[in-house]
């Protein structure tokens, strides 16, 4: 029973709000001896695990630090190229930390605008007339609930598959949006929501949900 995140997409498809509520943090650290028994590869300026899943290090994880020195992109923070460092035998044994890659804001904006045409396509593909777009999208590990207001704003909640009462929560978030974003005279429509009051109220709403309060 977890709410992972909340997204609000404006009528024109831009991400105007995003809040990550619970982000499962998966990090695993291990000492390695030469030769390295997992395959690494650089992709999109990141070093990711290509093959060889073991000890909680999974395919797709990103190299986070080498011997405790954080890695940004391909380089360690002391300016050494991480891949080259790992290739050299004299540097062993070496401690590597891997973690699940975090989504950057740009990626989130990109994904949000990708959902927009999917939603529209779904409503057109429908065999029945007058269908809405995607309301629920379910996967192995999460469920996405989407609620589109009459004005075209989309509110989305990414939650655990077992989470109940998401529909009610969506309506409550809509009320918060109407109250704390739209009634703020300094908020201009269609722009990203940077209103502290909205954040605060949203957080307290989510806390209530976590405590299992049902009559929100």
């Amino acid at each position: 029973m977890v709410i992972y995140g909340i997204y609000i997409v404006s009528k024109s498809g831009g991400l105007i709000f995003n809040y990550d509520n619970v982000v499962p943090k998966i990090e695993s650290e291990r000492k390695f001896t030469y030769p390295l028994d997992i395959k690494l590869r650089s992709e999109n300026k990141k070093i990711i695990v290509e093959f060889g899943q073991k000890d909680g290090i999974q395919v797709g994880h990103v190299l986070n630090s080498v011997n405790g020195i954080p890695v940004t992109g391909l380089q360690m923070d002391n300016g050494v190229n991480a891949l080259e460092f790992i290739e050299k035998e004299e540097n062993y044994p070496v401690t590597l930390q891997f973690a699940r890659p975090k989504m950057t804001t740009n990626e989130k904006i990109f994904l949000a605008s990708m959902f927009y045409p999917l939603f529209a396509i779904a409503s057109q593909l429908s065999p029945e007339q007058k269908s809405s777009g995607i309301e629920v999208l379910e996967a192995d590990t999460f469920r996405l609930n989407c609620f589109q207001t009459l004005t075209g704003v989309k509110l989305m909640i990414i939650s655990d598959r077992t989470q109940t009462g998401v529909d009610v929560l969506l309506r409550r978030i809509y009320e918060l949006y109407a109250d704390y974003a739209l009634k703020n005279p300094f908020y201009s429509l269609e722009m990203p929501i940077r209103c502290e009051l909205f954040d605060v109220n949203l957080k307290s709403l989510l806390e209530q949900i976590e405590k299992g309060v049902n009559n929100i």
Partner: protein, 178 residues
């Protein structure tokens, strides 16, 4: 859901506060802009900007669906009047083709304590309401025109706000709604 119907009763304010604030706003605008017609126009714009935000509040709190005819729209605006101004105007004077109607306000909180001086007889004091109706409906893809026909401030029996349906904004319809 039962609580959401009671929720908006909580924050009530005295209508005189609204009357006075609105009066101060109009008075200030008359000082700032010399032309009375400009003031009317600005009031309409102000209302429009309020309307495009207020509609979201209305939808969130009432959870109403999309209107499919103008009678439905009129009823919903009527309930919005009740919600935001505490008055229940009559919906009358339907045009034969059903695309125009009027709200009759026998009392109007905005004008409760107001008398128009002679040099401001052309001022459309309540133009804010017309703008708010137009803005709110535009956000739910209805293009309307709204204007004041009768005004208690000008000696009429009632205040009458006319609303004329122009068209549905099909191209602005969000996907999955059209």
């Amino acid at each position: 859901m039962s609580r959401s119907t009671t929720r908006f009763d909580v924050k009530k304010v005295n209508s005189e506060l609204v009357t006075l604030t609105y009066g101060a706003l109009v008075a200030q605008m008359i000082k700032d802009l010399d032309n009375v017609d400009d003031v009317s126009k600005q009031l309409e714009r102000l209302g429009y900007n309020m309307g495009i935000r207020l509609i979201e509040d209305f939808l969130a709190k009432t959870g109403t669906g999309r209107c499919l005819d103008l009678k439905d729209t009129a009823d919903k605006i009527q309930s919005a009047f009740k919600m935001y101004l505490g008055i229940q105007p009559n919906v009358t004077n339907w045009s034969p083709s059903g695309d125009e109607f009027s709200f009759m306000l026998d009392s109007n909180p905005l004008t409760e304590l107001v008398e128009l001086p002679d040099d401001l007889k052309s001022l459309k004091y309540c133009n804010l309401l017309c703008g708010a109706i137009r803005g709110a409906l535009e956000m739910v893809q209805l293009d309307v025109q709204s204007w004041i026909v009768q005004d208690q401030l000008k000696g009429d029996q009632n205040t009458e706000i006319r609303v004329k349906f122009i068209r549905r904004l099909e191209d602005a319809m969000p996907a999955g709604e059209d």
